[in-house]
Symmetry: C2
Subunit: 212 residues, 2 copies
Amino acid sequence: MLLYGYFRSSAAYRVRIALNLKGLDYDNRFIHLQKNDQLSADYAAINPQKLVPALVDGGHVLTQSLAILEYLDETHPQPALLPADPLGRARVRAIAQAIACDIHPINNLRILRYLVKDLGVSEEKKDAWYRHWVETGLQAVESLLTTNPGTGRFCHGDDPGLADICLVPQIANARRFKCDLSACPTVERIGAECDKVPAFAAAAPGRQPDAE
Amino acid sequence: MLLYGYFRSSAAYRVRIALNLKGLDYDNRFIHLQKNDQLSADYAAINPQKLVPALVDGGHVLTQSLAILEYLDETHPQPALLPADPLGRARVRAIAQAIACDIHPINNLRILRYLVKDLGVSEEKKDAWYRHWVETGLQAVESLLTTNPGTGRFCHGDDPGLADICLVPQIANARRFKCDLSACPTVERIGAECDKVPAFAAAAPGRQPDAE
């Protein structure tokens, strides 16, 4: 498989973790988001949405990180990223989407650029925007974790899965932007558990060949 | 089943379409987002994330619209919202997420409120923000539809599914905010096809009991 990614892309980070958990080898193509490589005609021919990641498997291009994670789980079922029961699957997907839909897209590079360039927002207020959505978003995730007995060593039970795969890159972003996670002890505890898992550690931005 | 929703919530609209397609009866509880009903302690006890929709099935609370749609498809498989093959499923999910992750969250009520109240953005620039993300987002969806032979009468093949369920509420929002969809003829064609399907038509905001 071939992964089009970028060391700092949270969405690519998710796919790297999943590939590692599944023990799947892959080659990298690096799309430098700060240099706008994703807007090139060459890359648009691969992913018309002009976002990373894109995963090529047997000549087929897959896009959108959550769709890629589900695809990997369907085509390489072990270890499972989702529980077997529909209610458990719905819970894990809901936690994943609370991050992938309700936090991450609001703080994407293109959004931050629009705030500064089109709306004239100061760097200080842009950073406050970033921290606001990460902090309120992760507090909501914290409440999903603390109000449900399904939470274990990881977000759901004692094995890492889809929700943890989304959580860890969001925690990494939170740390990079110095967000206050003091109201999120369960989020931090699970993040520390994930850090101990080699599949997560090897996927970290700082360990990628294109890291700066 | 019991659906906590709001007539204008795109995410609740998605769940209404899916329940109708599956032929599932449900009762409504209306959470008035403009009046901040979603922030009440009573509702937070149901959905700690304080967002709609929430679906109660057999005493279990499900949240996040895409997770609810997958749950309904797993527990009530006919008619299927996803194709049977992993590549097709990945494609449909990617189109759905291109809307549910990359367009909708950026234009959510709480985001628009932050722009105006915290960043002092004018109504005019707020509306331009809204149109920008809808127009560029739906143009990306258009490109996903036109560059793939899987597109049929609907987003994937000739039966409505998960991607169409996400597309229709986004088109409704685009029309309400007078977005320019002239670059999205396939999106508009599929939207018109969906309008002919009673399950979609009955789920429209204007047909809900809480519509204003």
